[in-house]
Point group: C2
Chain length 261, copies 2
């Protein structure tokens, strides 16, 4: 099967123009088919502050009231998505930026209240495989902002990690998918204080052992549980590491690679 | 040739949620292929005010400094584009929203200074016909926000009337194109104070006569000159009138239709 990279970048790259530029040049150089997924970093928070709209976070997730939804739609689907696409075009990578409403590409539902009311937060129901496939067939790289919709005229703020994972899973029937999570650390660390303690390859058995021995720090557990879930749903491998080291990351030379046993 | 409607809406519809909703439902009901082009109305100005970024207009055009470009990108390509697409999806009209950078769909250059420095304002060079055509071939309606790019990593604020016209011209080789300008008046008026004085059909000879007799008010002249230019570049007809009367407008039952002699 043909290779496909689904690459998610986080706030550490998006908030830093120079890093973003380095990353996008490396992204453009990947010869295989590729999809970029992004959230919005601190820019939505900063815009909300300037507009005097108080922001609430709960376990790293933004509580999205109507005004906040407007802000994240402007910042994620508008500003960040378009500066990324314009820069990719300038380095000869044909890209199309969109959100989950466009082409009905990602259908979600408003998250049920379970103690916390996350407001207009979406949980993904369905990825429109054929929309992604026909863009990829034309060598167009989709650039997906983390806004989805429910098909009933409601946009929804949606976790970018989840979007990347759902796209990766849905396209794994047609491609050999590598799901790449760029974040601020060099990979999964044996010692959270030591950037040199990257675990190069993490298999399920070893992960369970590390979790049992409390060697994996708490923040990584949902990320890794999701990674193993993606693997068990057909994704070929998940790679976690520094987005700005993209060319080494996708070969497994840096970062942590998660594979089947 | 197959029919195609290229429909531009202005601030009077975009700034009014109820009118926008009426318009979008009517747009969704058009059975022929269709493209929607929109600017941003007063929302960009309002956001700029809240953020304390002074706005300057010159002859109805916004002078776009770097901060203003960021705002119009957020508002036009982000918020407005996405609420339109989400609403179209909810009425079963498959739409994809984008700006000129996406798919390299509209290439422009930064307007030369000629007395006035318009800042990051773009003049259109090229429309990527094949991108529009393959969306239309899949019965996807493109929703185009009035932001373009220069291919060298610069987004540009671009007049939505011009974008609609350039798209209409470029697709007139493949489709029988009707270019529809929705605006706040019922059509081209013989008496600007009288909404009932709509000229139903305006041909070039009659237009020249009206211009000579100063029967056409000043603000309409660039719009009409552009309309006749579109006609002479292969567009089948241009219709000008109230966007919210869309179903009557596209049949020519209301508004002013501009055709070849």
């Amino acid at each position: 099967m043909e290779k496909l990279y689904v690459i998610k970048i986080g706030g550490n790259i998006i908030d830093d123009d120079a890093l973003l530029s380095v990353f996008l040049k490396k992204f453009a150089q990947i010869k295989s088919k590729k999809i970029l997924v992004h959230g919005g970093g601190k820019q939505a928070t900063r815009l909300a502050e300037k507009l005097g709209i108080p922001q609430q976070m709960k376990e790293g997730r933004r509580i999205t009231d109507a005004e906040t939804l407007k802000i994240v739609t402007m910042v994620y689907a508008g500003y960040i998505n378009k500066i990324i696409v314009a820069e990719l075009q300038s380095v000869h990578c044909n890209a199309v930026g969109f959100c989950g409403a466009d082409g009905n590409s990602i259908l979600a539902h408003k998250r049920e209240k379970e103690g916390t009311d996350y407001g207009f937060a979406g949980d993904v129901d369905q990825v429109n495989e054929s929309w992604f496939k026909q863009l990829l067939d034309q060598d167009i790289s989709p650039v997906v902002s983390s806004i989805t919709h429910d098909g009933k005229n409601q946009l929804l703020n949606t976790n970018a990690d989840t979007i990347a994972q759902e796209i990766a899973k849905s396209l794994s029937a047609s491609f050999s998918v590598s799901l790449v999570f760029g974040f601020e650390k060099s990979g999964v660390l044996l010692d959270v204080e030591d950037e040199l303690s990257v675990i190069p390859v993490l298999q399920a058995g070893y992960y369970q052992k590390l979790k049992k021995n409390q060697k994996i720090f708490a923040g990584m557990i949902p990320k890794l549980d999701n990674a193993f879930a993606a693997i068990s749903h057909g994704v070929n491998q998940v790679i976690i590491g520094k987005g700005e080291e993209l060319e080494q990351l996708i070969t497994g030379a840096t970062g942590t690679t998660i594979r089947h046993e």
